[in-house]
């Protein structure tokens, strides 16, 4: 076993301290050390986007993110997206639009969409497609997820029902 380092970061609003090795990735820290398995791993080389989390407001692929980089960072994972009032609009719309099949890509795709909508609240369909192009989905053909994200954007802008 290699040398352990201590990192401190905010995870879904709560402060965490973890002992890790230099080579530990963020996805391993989340899944195997903190037992937060909502973050998935689909390829482990940053290709598929299943492991997407939000770090300091930006969508990042946690399977290729050294956990050391999270020291001092603000991290949001799928477990932290729903608030006191219930599901986040993106989660609600993924439910309503039947945008989830196997669901393995869903956490990463929702978080990629959230980071993007926080930057661009009123995107075109094409912009949404580009925003989630790093997230492979093998079930849906992206039809319903794209519609769900556009509808969530409307709701987040206050134009929704």
């Amino acid at each position: 076993m290699g040398k352990k380092y201590t990192i401190t970061f905010t995870l879904n609003g709560a402060e965490h301290t973890a002992e890790i090795e230099a080579g530990t990735t963020m996805s391993t820290l989340l899944r195997e050390i903190l037992h937060q398995t909502g973050t998935k791993v689909g390829c482990d080389i940053g290709d598929c986007g299943a492991c997407t989390i939000i770090m300091n407001g930006r969508a990042v692929k946690s399977c290729i993110l050294p956990a050391m980089k999270a020291d001092g960072a603000d991290i949001v994972t799928i477990e932290g997206l729903a608030g006191k009032d219930g599901l986040h609009p993106l989660q609600k719309k993924f439910v309503e639009y039947a945008a989830v099949q196997c669901g393995y890509c869903t956490p990463g795709m929702i978080l990629a969409a959230k980071a993007y909508l926080d930057e661009n609240p009123d995107p075109t369909e094409e912009e949404v497609r580009i925003a989630i192009s790093g997230n492979i989905c093998r079930c849906t053909g992206y039809v319903k997820p794209v519609l769900a994200i556009l509808s969530a954007a409307e709701e987040m802008r206050g134009e929704g029902k």
């Binding site: 290709d47 989830v100 196997c102 949404v128 079930c139 039809v143």
Partner: protein, 783 residues
Amino acid sequence: MSTKPEAKRIEIPARVTWRKLNVVGKSLPKVDVVNKVTGAAVYTSDIYLSNMLTGHLVRSQHTRARIISIDKEAAMRIPDVVDIITCFDVPDVHFSTAGYPRETILGVCPNVDPRYMEDRTLMEREIRYEGEIVALILAENVQAAREAESLLKIEYEVLPHVADTGYALSEEAPLIHGGTGKNVIETEMSYGDLEEGFKKSTHIFEDSISVQGQQHTCMETSCSIAQIEPSGKVTLWSTTQVPFHIRRNIHEVLGIPMNKIRVIKPAIGGGFGERQMVQNEILCVYAAMRTKRSVRIELTREENIAYTSLRHPADITLKTGVDDNGKILAYQMYVRSCAGAYSGHSNYVTKAMCTKNPYKVGAMFFHADITFTNRPDSGAYRGYGNPQMCFAREYHFDRIAKELGIDPTDFRKQNLVQVGEQNPIALKSDWVLQSNGLQACIDAGKEAIKWDERRKPQGSKRYGKGMSAAMHVTGISAEPDFSSATIKLNEDGTVSLLIGSPDLGQGCDTTHAQICAETLGINIKDVNVISADTDVTSFDGGSYSSRQTFVAGNAIILAAQKVKEQVIKYAAEMTGQQRGNLDTYDGWIVRKENGRRVTSMADLAYFAAYKATEPIHICESASYNALNCPPAFAAHFADVEVDVETGAVKILNFVAAHDVGKAINPDLVTAQVEGAAAQGIGYALMEEMIYDGNAKLLNNSFTDYKVPRSTDMCPIEVIVVEAYEPSGPYGAKSVGEMAVAPVAPAIANAIYDAAGIRIPSLPFTKEKVRAAIKEKMAKEKKS
């Protein structure tokens, strides 16, 4: 404010009138969806047990070799290495990776040499493909396992290998399975007088096509976790589509009684046929038995792409005789499929290419050479032989129609099999087709794609439209197919539905809950589905052959009817009313004649358990044996742009019209069509397994094996045609696999319409399209 789009639905009048449906036919949210959007759903790969060993697979770097010896002494000295299992340790019991019982295999393929049915052990001493498993290292962590791998001394005798089907069939090719005499299983099917059919034909057409290997690329890689109790009881969590078949295989290979094996399919990150076979489950349980520890075997993405089964590559030649009006009189198919090293699903997949055909063809002859090579196994993949043959046939028929001057839609329509005629799926049965919405699919699709409108060329861009038609099974077709269901009524009026079918994400837990609620006359919120756990649920073959809604759905109806009978019996006692006057609806016991509420299901359930003269826990099971396999139908239409300078093909619009019998949940139907169409678009335009001369896969990552991303996809318009199927639950047939098959030919035919080129092999890469355009231009110049 945008609203959720609803698919266009065309209902073909039902012959049976049901009372107004309350749950079935509604786009209700999936029962597991909230867990999935919050990250709470637990997948196999999310399970970490405290005393769990990592199972690290050691794979052969040789394509074909005999293992002389394995020296594990040095490797075992690595701290944290607990055990190493090699081909010299595993039980000498042969099994079929397809997972089917012997009886099913014999039912489908009566003449197959038994050596091709159960053709492998857990680890073979002869390596038959690059990457075949040679050893399993069990260690406390993956670093130790990797270090041990580097110290494992394996002595191989490298043997000459067979990289492709052409060489496999040649005289000089070595035998992949010694003693079998040849590298091929030949199979034939036929009906009618083919020679006479061709003699009567005024036009005879012949085309040869080839199709490539395609990977499922499920987003969760294959994972098995086995836990063993001191009592000997084994629990296995697996990314499987067939928990009951896995349990039987573990029983047969390892000798554990079935009641000591619990197989659970938790949430699963995709199936698509990849998991309709034995993965590493038996090996995982064997390792747990040896080490008396929990064991996890999880594939990397690279292993999952390279070494799990793939869609069969195939070369197909079709010959068709027609009369002057385009009526098909004779139809002949030759198929050479690449089975890979072990037979697995190859017999059934290749045979299935013959029968999934929606046309009357006069006389038919089918010959297949199911060919062994030193490649990883080809296997089950959504469509199960249909995408290969559908591409060949619809490409071929488009050429026939165009050359005869018949509109391709008319050519299809006039040759369709009709209601009342023999069901084409099972050649030797007396099954009759009872529903067929294909004509409606063609008409609706034609209108939606604006078939008769043409776009003018713009610069280097050419525009064209193409179509295709297809048919698919609803359950396994050549054998009795059965499923069973158990329904328990709890004392508060809610029910627990125990069903063996695994939900792979397609949503059968939800459609099953809807069928249960509808039949029992309750709300869907009052149905809890417990599925795919061999200790708890009733038997089910698994999720394949698009069988869940039809086969398991019918079993649920039968079980729910038995529960309802008990409910009414006790309601009569409770209310003093005649049984014959009572019914159930929307969570209430109601008067049959006017629906007036008599008492709630909750009060009735409480009464039955605690107040009745003979208290009872109402719990009923039923099995359904499918006596027919009603096919589902589809017509696809593509509107494409071809850039004749770059060879780029862009799909501008895609219409998929599907006859599903009845959409139990319309959103889930359109979701299936959209997702399958996306896999079809990948198959048509970008996906291809590429091997080197040693049959080693060159593109084993998402960087190199391209699957469609959001930016690659086009709009897909789904039209749901509901041609009521009398044998289906509420009229339903199937949808899951269907939509992969007709995509590639619709695109191929649109490319021809746009640019005048026919490309007889998939995928239509820019290079291939550009080369075909160049060739066409060169020919035109000459003439």
